[in-house]
Amino acid sequence: MSNTAIFIALLTGVVVWFVVASRLTAKPWRGETKGDVGAIPLPAARIGLWAFMAVVTSLFSLFVSAYAMRMHHGLGWCHLTIPNLLWYNSLVLLGASVAMQLASSLAGRGRRATARTAMLAGGVLTIGFLVGQILAWQAIGPSLYFIQGSPAIAFFYVLTTLHGLHLIGGLYVLGRTMGRFNAGAELLDLRQSLSLCATYWHFLLLVWLAVFGVLLFL
């Protein structure tokens, strides 16, 4: 419940910000036009991405809420023994996130070849992270016996699968960007895609760190 309350507080904060920022106090019947959000100086794709990240935040917050409630209100809970591999995986994902940021920055500075290398590195590191997660599954015990017997293990599988699927979605977009890159698209056109990819990677890194933190400390 407390997680849900935090989520609601965040949500309320967003709504309050929206109300304040958009100055919903205009009197349109008097011809006043101040009630705009002003120019949001962002492309639509970026707004769409932020909205999507809000949805994913909601999804994982609710999963974490469910995790906490199942732990406290259900029976038969035993904590998960975290494999050390997850620490290395986290570092790999951090590396992927840094690589994506580099790719975006380098593209912004017009350095096509190095941007491409950074993008490739980001992709490879992400695939490495996913492989690492599968190895972590092996370490925890991927049999139905464990999944049925321990809700903590079942949660681990669900959370890592969902997170992995979101990363795979990101890889799909990255692959398309790479395809455009190889087809000789203008660097200017690719900058936005890379910048969005970087944002998404940072976000998924944060989500993973939050999930990992919950598994470790809750």
Binding site: L24, L42, G48, L62, A66, A154
Partner: protein, 586 residues
């Protein structure tokens, strides 16, 4: 100004080539809206037939043997889920949202047209998966539309095998579809409004759909989470929700799960869902009332703030659906309080609708009849909601027909009246044809009076203690004989209302071909969708140049103006001013 996404251009965007691209794999928001609406209405008709079958059993027990207890529960479940999710949510957001947002905001299309198209096809897939459950062994799930565990996955419940799995899969697919559409609606409202269309000049229809979409984007994940976890409980044997339980004399392999956890997750989605359906209805009805009363909406700013307040509050009232599940009394107090607080912005809206009508030049056309009908049914359902929001009143009434009457009035009949009103209102723009007004009025009166004949007596039955969810009452001694007569009368009324839908369908379908040609702006409305160069609007909506907005959406009966309406894209005459402040210093 958010005039950045889709600017003036000579050629329309994503030009369709040929029949398939134009009408099947279309990326045009108007075509997608119609696709959404047709599928939603189709699946809604199935749900309507299911409710008729249930009523036959309740009104005339044991006369219709094909409605056995298992089927009865399957019909209840499918009726509820289809009506709430696959009809109302899809129609308001996928249908009206798609059609109205770009047109009312002065955009050429949604900002992500390809994703918008995918949204519809994934929605159709969700519907097909849901309907497939009618044809699998064991049939669809009969767990009740709330799908509470443990019974939803226990063998004694009808459809506990493939039925419940298909239901959960369908919901998950629906949520994916909704998310794709929802991202479009939010981004389009924020980024693709035409010049001059500030947020506070947007029609309330757009505000309602916008806020409902935000609610949906944040609340549907709760249903997604519960669907995934319950699917795993049902298929892999995890114990997220399933406690240690014996079924039919056999200990099942579950241990320690929390059914209450499911209820929390479900209602964390379920209550905002009420407003996902209600807010678009609030917005649309505001526009219908203002247009057909030839008067500016009363308290526009307050209406916008109320939509935002209701949206925010809808996230902190969910546990009022769980009073009978038991909870800490302080929680009960908290949720009763928040529930009653949400009545404040809601009541503000009702007062404003009534005050909009006050001294208006009311034209009792078909859309207006439905809009006024909505005010009645919504007040009715809202007031009974105040009863049920209180813990002590809710406990004895919760499992009775009082609740059935309440929620059908507030989120069944009320939004459906708005849906009908909205279809009658925008039909001329969508099809370019007028419909038969007389048939429309017959449809209204049969629906309005008929639904009262159905749901008003249910409150009485509930107070008598008639339990809901029962397949048959049998010879229950504490119930007077009149209960059975009332049940029979309700069934007859339900069949009449269902029949009136045929009048509606006939009118809509026949008018497509033989209705008189509609003028571009038959209701003399101010909002942008009525100002398109073509009726129905062509691909790209606006021809080579986007409109420019100069005033709010409610300049009706402006003193001194030659007409009783001034469209939003008409420049301000310095002598005349804007709206009701004509003649005052700005």
């Amino acid at each position: 100004m958010a005039y950045v996404a889709i600017a003036d251009r000579d050629a329309p965007i994503h030009d369709p080539h040929g029949f398939i691209e134009k009408y099947i794999w279309s990326q045009d928001h108007k075509v997608i809206a119609i696709q959404y609406a047709v599928v939603a209405i189709f699946v809604g008709l199935i749900a309507l037939v299911l409710s008729g079958l249930m009523r036959l059993q309740l009104g005339f027990p044991d006369e219709f043997h094909f409605v056995d207890p298992n089927r009865y529960y399957q019909f209840i479940t499918m009726h509820g889920m289809i009506m709430v999710i696959y009809l109302l949510t899809a129609l308001f957001l996928g249908g009206f949202g798609n059609y109205l947002i770009p047109l009312m905001c002065g955009a050429r299309d949604m900002v992500f047209p390809y994703m918008n198209m995918l949204s519809f096809w994934v929605y159709l897939l969700a519907v097909l998966v849901l309907l497939a459950s009618f044809f699998v062994p064991g049939g669809p799930t009969g767990a009740g539309w709330t799908l509470y565990p443990p019974q939803a996955v226990l063998p004694g419940t009808p459809g506990s095998g493939l039925g419940i799995i298909l239901m959960l899969a369908s919901l998950a697919i629906f949520i994916v579809a909704f998310t794709m559409g929802g991202l479009n609606y939010v981004t389009t409202v924020l980024q693709a409004r035409c010049r001059g269309m500030t947020l506070m000049r947007m029609p309330l229809s757009v505000w309602g759909i916008f806020m409902a979409t935000i609610l949906g984007l944040l609340a549907f994940p709760a249903l997604f989470v519960s669907a995934i976890m319950m699917t795993l409980d049902g298929t892999l044997g995890t114990s997220f929700f399933m406690p240690a339980v014996a079924s039919m004399g056999e200990n099942l392999n579950y241990d320690g799960g929390s059914p209450l956890l499911f209820q929390h997750l479900f209602w964390f989605f379920g209550h905002p869902e009420v407003y996902i359906v209600a807010l678009p209805a609030f917005g649309i009805v505001s526009d219908l009332l203002s247009t057909h009363a030839r008067k500016n909406i009363f308290g526009y700013r307050m209406m916008v703030w109320a939509i935002l307040a209701i949206g925010g509050l809808s996230f902190v009232v969910w546990a009022h659906h769980m009073y009978v599940s038991g909870m800490n009394p302080y929680f009960g107090f908290f949720f009763a309080t928040t529930t009653l607080i949400i009545a404040v912005p809601t009541a503000i809206k009702v007062y404003n609708w009534v005050l909009t009508l006050w001294k208006g030049n009311i034209h009792l056309r078909v859309p207006m009849l439905f809009a006024i009908g909505f005010i009645f049914t919504f007040i009715h359902g809202g007031l009974t909601g105040l009863f049920l929001g209180n813990v002590t009143v809710d406990l004895p009434l919760s499992d009775t027909y009082f609740v059935v009457g309440h929620f059908h009035m507030v989120m069944g009949v009320s939004p459906i009246l708005v849906v009908f009103g909205a279809i009658y209102h925008w039909y001329p723009k969508i099809t370019g044809r007028m419909y038969n007004e007389t048939l429309g009025k017959w449809h209204f009166w049969l629906t309005f009076l008929g639904t009262y004949a159905i749901y008003l007596p249910m409150h009485y039955l509930g107070i008598l203690g008639v339990p809901r969810r029962y397949y048959a009452l049998g010879n229950t001694e504490f119930l007077p004989e009149s209960v059975h007569d009332v049940n029979a009368a309700i069934t007859i009324a339900a069949l009449v209302v269902a029949g009136s839908v045929l009048i509606f369908m006939y009118n809509m379908i026949v008018s497509l071909k033989s209705g008189p040609k509609a003028p571009p702006n038959p209701w003399k409305a101010t909002t942008l969708e009525w100002q398109t160069p073509d009726t129905p609007p062509k691909h790209g909506n606006w021809g080579p140049k986007l409109p420019e907005v100069h005033r709010w959406a409610y300049d009706y009966s402006v003193p001194g103006a030659p007409d009783d309406f001034i469209p939003q894209n008409v420049p301000v005459d310095p002598k005349l001013g804007v709206g009701r402040d004509h003649g005052r210093k700005h």
